[in-house]
Every structure is written in C-alpha cells, then in structure tokens.
Symmetry: D2
Subunit: 293 residues, 4 copies
C-alpha cells in the first residue's frame, strides 16, 4: 500500500432534515466533489463521518455506498473501529468484501485497554482480512494513547498493519516513528493545524476533512512540501490555518456540514447531542471561506 | 427519590463460555446474592455491566430481565447512556416502561461536547421520562468532565435530574457540590478508593461493584459512617482498600467476574478486547478475598 | 519526634511598608498569637513565610528570631529548602544550631531531578544534622512530584527522615502511605481543603496558615477528628471550608497578611511579583471572617 | 534588535573540581569555541548555565566576565530571571550596565502568578533598562505557562519586550504568535527536538546549548531552513535529533559538560542536587558524537 499518500479526504455522512435517515445522494455528491478536486484518497466513516453515531445497518449502507461510488477512482480507506473486537472484525470484513482498499482502526473502547489487549485487538482484525490496516492513534477521541513503542510492536506483530495515522498533536511522535521505525513505517498526519510540520517531519499524507471546503489549498501545500519548497509551503499553510483551526475547534461534522451548505451542497446537520454550527459560527466560516476563495 | 442511599451494587453481565450470548440465569443469581447480602439498591448496565459492549437487543434483554428479577425488593437504577441523544432517550423510556426506579446518565460521546450540548442532552432525556435521573460524571470513561457549576446548572434546569454520581476521584468536587448546592443536591460516590472520604464529605451513597465480592465490609463501612464513628469507619476502610484498589486497577468486569467464579458463581468472561483476569491476577484476588473472609 | 501532631501553624514573614526590610516585632506578635491560640507547633519560612523570596541574610534572621521567640513553648519546624544541596545543608545546620526541633525539606529545584538525585539530596541533608526531617511533597510549588514509593525509599534510607507532609491534593497518596508504610510513617496534610478527609485517612497533623486567622475552628476540627466524631468534624469542616478555599486561591502570603491586618496586626505586604490582596478580595475576606467569628 | 537571529548558543558555567568555585578561564574557552564555530549570538546564565544555582556574587561575576569576553563579536543575551521583581530588576540593570545587548526574562516564581502579576513584573524590568527584552516562556522549568494572548499583551504593553522565546514544545504556540502577532513579533525556539518544525513555522532563531557540541550541524540546519530547502533541512535535522534528544533527556548542564570534557574542554560538573552524567550516559554520548563527527 505504498501508494497511499497525499491528501486523504474524509467524507461527512449526510442526514435528512430531521436527522433520522441517511441522504445517500448527497453523500455521492460530496464524494464526487472531493475526487474532482483532486484528493488522493477517500476516507469514509471516520470521526467527521459520524461513524460512531450510526446504527449498524446505517454503517453498512454508508460503507457499501461509499466504496461503490468511489469506484476505484482513488483508493478508499474505511474506518471500521468499534467497541468490541467482534464488531470491529465484522466491519473490517464487510469493508473488505465490498472493495475497500484499506481499513483504518482506532482502538476505541470504554474501559482503558492494556497494551496486550490493544495488540490482540489489532491482531484479531488483521487476521480476519487481507487488506492493509492503517493504525490510528487519537487519544482525544478514543481515550487510549498508544506509545510509539507500542505502535511499532503492533506493526511488527501484525503483518497487514502497514501504516500509522498520528493525531496526538505532538510532532515528536512522528520523529520517534521515523527514528525507531528506521524510516520504514509510513505515517500520516491527522491533526489539521500540524499539516505544515507533519510534512516537514516526513509524513506521507494528511488525513483531513478540509478538502470538503478548501481542496486546492490542501493540495498546493502537499505539492509544495513534496517539492521541498519550504517558503511556499509555509505561506500556503498560514493562509489556510485560520480555517483549519476553525473547523477543528467548531467540531468537524458541524463545521464541514455548514461549509458544504454554504457552498451549495445540503448535507443536513450532525446528530444530537452534537449541535449544528450556530449562526455566529456560520458567519465566521463564510467569511473565512470568502477570504480563501 | 430521597430514598436512594447506602450501598448501590453494580451488576455484571454474565456471558456464555464463548462470550457470544447472555447468561440470564447467572445474572439472576448475581442479583439475588447482592440483594440477599443487604445492598440498598441495584444498578444494572453500568460500566461493570459492560453496557457499552452489548448490542441494542442484548441491552434491552438485560434491562428488562434485571428490573423484573429485582422485583422491587430494592430500587433499581438503570444506566441508559448512549452515544446519540435519540438512543439514550429510547433506552431511558425502555427502562422506565419496564419499571426502573431511576435512570443513570453519563454524557457519553465521541466528539467533545459543549456545555450547551450536554445540557440539551440531559433535558431531552429528562423531558422524555417521569422517573428521576442520576447524573453521572466520569471523565475517565466518558471523556467529558462536567464542572460542578455545569452539573448544578443541569440540576436546576432539568426537573428530574435530582442526584449526582461523582467519579472523578477528586474529593473537592463533592465539597463544591455540597457548598454550591447548599446541601440540597444528594451526591453519590463512584470512586471505590475514595469510599471513606466521600462518606466523610457527606455522600449519601456509594455506587460500587465491590458488594459482588465483599458486601458485608461495604455495608459495615456505610453503617459506621452513618453512625458518625470515624475510627471504626477508618479501620473498615483500610481493611477493604487493597481489594478496592485491586478491582479498580484490574478492571471491574474482569476482576468481578473472576471473583464471582472464585466464590462459586460462573459468569463467564468480559467481551474482547477486554481480557479476562490473567492467572497471576486470579491468584492475587483469591488471596485478597481469603484475607477478608 | 512522635510528638509532632495536631495543628501546625505557618508563620508569615512581615515586611516594612516598602517591602524592603523585615519587621521582626510583627513576626514576634504573629507567633505569640498563634501559640496563644493553642496551635501544637510553629512552622516558619514555609511557602506562606515567603522563604523563597528572602535573601540568605534575611532567611537567617527570620529563622533565628522565630526559634528564639517560640522559646520551646511548642516545637518549631523550620523549612530549609534551597535550590542547591549545599545551600539546603547550610540552612538545615543553621536551623539545628539555633534550636529547631524539626526541619522541613521540599526538593526544590530548577532542573527536574531524578529519583537518585532526590534521594542523595535528602541523604546529604540528613547526614549533616541530628534533628528529624519532615519530607515535604508539593509538586505545585516545587515542580517535583515524589511517588509514595520514592518517599518510602527515602524514609528507609535516611534515618532522620521520619515524617511526611503531603500536599498533592490527592487523598489516595495518604492511603498509599498508610498501606505501604504499614501505618509506621506519620503523615501530615498540607492541603487546606482536604483537612477533613486527611484526618479521616489518618493524618497526624495539619500544616496550615489558617490558624493565623481562624485558629479555634482549626483546633476544633482536629479535636473532633481525634475524638472520632465524624458528624461534628464534618460540620466544623464545611463551616471553615469557604475561608480555606479563599486563602488557597487568593495566595497564602497575600490573604493571610490581609487577614492579619483586618484583625489588627500590621504585617506589610508580599514581595513583588506577588501582589497584595486587591480591595475586592479584602472585602470578601472580611465578610468570610465576620461570618466565622 | 531585529538583528537577533540564527543559532543562539547557551553557555555552561564551569566549576572547579569540587564544584565550589567558578572556573572563568574555562568559561572563556567555551565562549571562544562557540563564537569560532559561527554561532550568531551568545546567551549566558540560562538554564544550561545553571544560573539558578549561583549565588548573587557568582551570578554577577559570570555575567560581567561573559559580556566582556564576547567583546561584541556577536550579540550577548543575558538571562536575568530571579524570584523577586526587585532582584530581577537588579540583574537586568547589572547586565545592561556591563554591555549586554539583550536580556532574557522567564517569569520564575515560587507562588503561581496571576496574569496581572506577570505583566507588572515585565513592566518593572522593562522600565528599568534601555535594552530589549526577550520574553521566555518555559512552564517546565518556571512552573508558569504564559498563553499567547498574555505574551502579546505584554509585548504591546512593555515597549522593550520585543522578542519571544517559546519552549513549551507545542508548535501551535508559534502558529498563534505568528497569526495573532500578525507576523510582527519575532519568535525563537527553545525546544531542541522542535528545531526543524520551528524553522518551518517561521522562527527567527534557535536558542540552544547544542552548539557547544555540534555547532556545524546546528548552523547547517539553520542555513537550509533559511534557504527554504526542506529536504536538506529534514535530513540535517534527523541526523542531529538523537543527540538533541539525548542532551534534553539527560539534562543540559550534565550532558553538555560531559560532552565538553569528551572534546577536550574541562568544565567541571553540575552543582548538586544535579548529578554529573553517569558513566553509561558518557558512553552513549561519546558514541553519538562520534557518529556525527
């Protein structure tokens, strides 16, 4: 899977007006927009995609529809995290069966997991599928912080765990992955406001919901970084940083859905308890988008 | 609901040998043991009950069975937390419809919630049922830490939020609840190793899985505290503290299930990714229990 | 030194109006007030005494004067912490030479110290004096948090480290001291808002600046706790808690000096950068004191 | 002071064999080595210089000697932090009087300071001297974390606070300084393992003790970053990162002094309680240095 690189765009999950049913046509449109804008991969059912707030049946529908709709135009990376190992295995198999190129796994749990429990969780998922796994570390949402040492232990123990997505916000984790992994473990950045520095540190890609709103700036930053042009990368980064900060602080589902609406794609609102973006926030977001267009 | 007080015993959720199906007869036995030992209330589907790891159908079965089996011998407090407001409302209504005396609500979420989102979540649940709500604050499992000020705002805004379970492990939260709540908001301790000090600070009860294993010591501590006998309470507390520390550190589902097995009640093992207690741990637990018997 | 117990009163260090010189007569008066009120020991040059803000010459003057003025009416516990081991040894010897009964040592440092460095620091001080040492753990001011395991290692390795003052605010540290120390290591509470629970957990004493303002309430709480009367202890605690919270949040030197002024003893103001208590704070403090008198 | 930029080399403070007296000739040699290697500025009496462990008389000697010895070959930035405002003012005046180009101020304190107290501290120092101040934020050693908003408030309120040294290790602080300061507030990196990313984010310089050991690698990284050559900067960074990590984790005074000894300059050892580098550490350091030479 050395081909996974660049701007990896997260999709939102559109709901009908009352929030009760999925709006798959809108999902298809959002996927088309992302691919047409040039993103290098599509990642459905991540945090932005409110995967945690879907019923199992809804989850299956979104996974199947997304993979089918991407139709191999770019690789698809499906987040299959679930609270029990059995459920995560089921989702991983489902995703693979429907054509996912990669599955992403966050060690979501209610109880804090030991290192042995986390390793066994990855091993069980890895053993049940043939496609590669992107290990995802994000203590802010999962409550579990995997040390770089543990991550590398998992990478070494589970053959198809071949990529790491790092979202702690601590750039030194990437340094450690680079040094201890001897440059052999590709890592991806999941923290929007670290986009510049993650590329500086050697990240192969940036997993982000931002290309739903500002794809060209995201892609230009990636291109400048790959070209080794630090001054241009810095300029591009600081230009988009206010928007990156805004969508992170405002909550990705709420801000991305508001931004899509502002740019002509109605995708409904997040599911409660998560609020839609308040009016003041919509005003700020519109102003930020206008400044960048 | 001023009658909720004392030792509130959490139930485990027994599984069959392969972990795939519920073992309701064993659940019934564990409930009987708790009630026979003298606990003042029963709390199914909490953290210890692996509520987060059950399918919706299983959750309904356990809730209905537990309430029916308790049969009003003591009050039943059912944890109805879920990731979306709609699902939590459904569970709360289900629990009330089947006879729960109280429902407990932790603001579980994937995305960090704002104070307004948390308040709206409690309001939606409160408005949908007639029984009282015990608000539950436990940042270690929910990822959301509610300040005492927010808790009191919710108590004031939602009529049937009438009790607070505090599990941060910071005794000063109870002081603040007592002072800012002007002694009118009953609070309950959810942190086992703080049992002594929580009663010293005025807690009305102790929500704990420990009475599955050492009910008499738990009850004696409560009685000594209610009698204002500090020296006896301290002695009783330090006697049971090693076991309280052990079950907290070892994980409640794993240690309580191992302890039940050691005392003759087979309740299966936790669901993966949570491991059963390892052999060494079983040895330690058996030694601790022996010392206390 | 098994005789150190009860209410251990911290002294402030009074300055002249412009803050430049010591006001030893006022210090003498404040010591007399504390002893006359019934405190069980006097502790000069602690955090409250602005020991860290004095020149070496001033420190010596205050130490010598305080010990002489206490004149063995109660034991004197002198804080001798300093940034280098050599300077702390010098202060410890000075205090012993002038009659201190106990010295208190916080592992103050600029650089984070390893456990071996902390142990060597205590050993060097212990080896240089004959009086007992009260080890003081307060990460909030020292930047160094000593685990209970390390504390007990020091107690075991350095003969005259015989007492522990715990100020982390985490009551479970006291539980661990009690269990791992097998009840043989007397511990003292240094966190005012934990006074009730520390006594519940078995603390031998309470090191506090509060008796400069409300000695009787502090002493009554100690007496109730020693008598094992939990209900009375709880009532006394909650009565004084708003003042304890106030002096902690407002900063001890500023609030205690303002309180002394309000009760007729002019002790000047803290040294900059620490501000004197602002007017609004003085109003709140006066109201709190009035309510308690 | 727009001329302060590049590699700003911290000096150690050499002691005689028993640690009791200063070794100024060795200090002179270490300064010459730094300047001859090409560093852009010299910073005496920082953390590395054990400024906190010197007596006032020693501090004065080191400050005077260092400034004189640098002799304007490059700018001198003297750290004048002290626990009281009066003492910090005295040091700032002393440094200016002896020819310092810039003074650096960390809001060192024992008691946690309010924002108003911190601002007043900087204002008092700023008002007492004519040279520029580099504000230094390092919560790990000072215990005080200044928000970017507070830093900018100080920069706006105190005319000669014109530069910011950021050592939190959180690169997003630099982003915020850049955005909120509208690119007008030059910032400098004080966290060695962030050297690459700080330059990527726009830092004007790197305050570091590393050039005592590997000046050419430090300078080359700066040059590559200034030339906008990201690939070369990344290579240079990862080459020196193991050494940067080592000196940070091992403690700067201990590791730099050991490294100087290994390269022919005897500078004694740190003052207790800080240990000299243990034998195993000396071996690792020598191996790291060999690999880089």
């Amino acid at each position: 899977m050395s081909t996974i690189h660049g701007i990896i765009g997260y999709t939102i999950t559109p709901f009908s007006a009352n929030g009760e049913t999925l709006d798959l046509p809108a999902l298809g449109q959002s996927i088309d927009r992302l691919i047409d804008s040039g993103v290098h991969a599509i990642a459905p059912l991540g945090s932005t995609g409110e995967g945690a707030y879907l019923s199992d049946a809804e989850w299956d529908q979104v996974a199947e529809f997304s993979i089918k709709h991407v139709a191999n135009r770019v690789p698809t990376i499906v987040s299959v995290s679930d609270l029990t190992t059995a459920k995560a295995v089921r989702r991983a198999r489902f995703a693979e069966a429907h054509g996912a190129d990669v599955v992403m796994v966050l060690p979501a749990s209610y109880w804090k997991l030991s290192e042995a429990e986390i390793l066994a969780h990855y091993r069980a998922i890895g053993d049940s599928i043939g496609v590669p796994i992107m290990l995802y570390n994000n203590p802010a949402t999962s409550g579990t912080d995997m040390s770089v040492e543990l991550i590398l232990r998992i990478v070494n123990a589970v053959e198809n765990v071949t990529m790491v997505k790092e979202s702690t916000g601590d750039i030194q984790r990437m340094h450690k992955l680079q040094l201890l992994g001897e440059g052999q473990v590709p890592f991806y950045n999941g923290c929007n406001p670290l986009a510049l520095e993650a590329f500086a540190a050697g990240a192969k890609g940036w997993c982000t919901a931002a290309p739903n709103l500002i794809p060209q700036l995201n892609l230009d930053l990636y291109d400048a970084a790959m070209a080794g042009d630090l001054d241009r990368a810095r300029d591009l980064f600081y230009r988009q940083l206010p928007l990156l900060d805004f969508i992170l602080k405002g909550g990705l589902p709420a801000t991305i859905k508001a931004g899509l609406r502002a740019t002509g794609l109605e995708a409904g609102e997040p599911r409660l308890p998560v609020f839609a973006l308040a009016e003041a926030g919509v005003g700020q977001l519109t102003a930020l988008l206008k400044e960048l267009s």
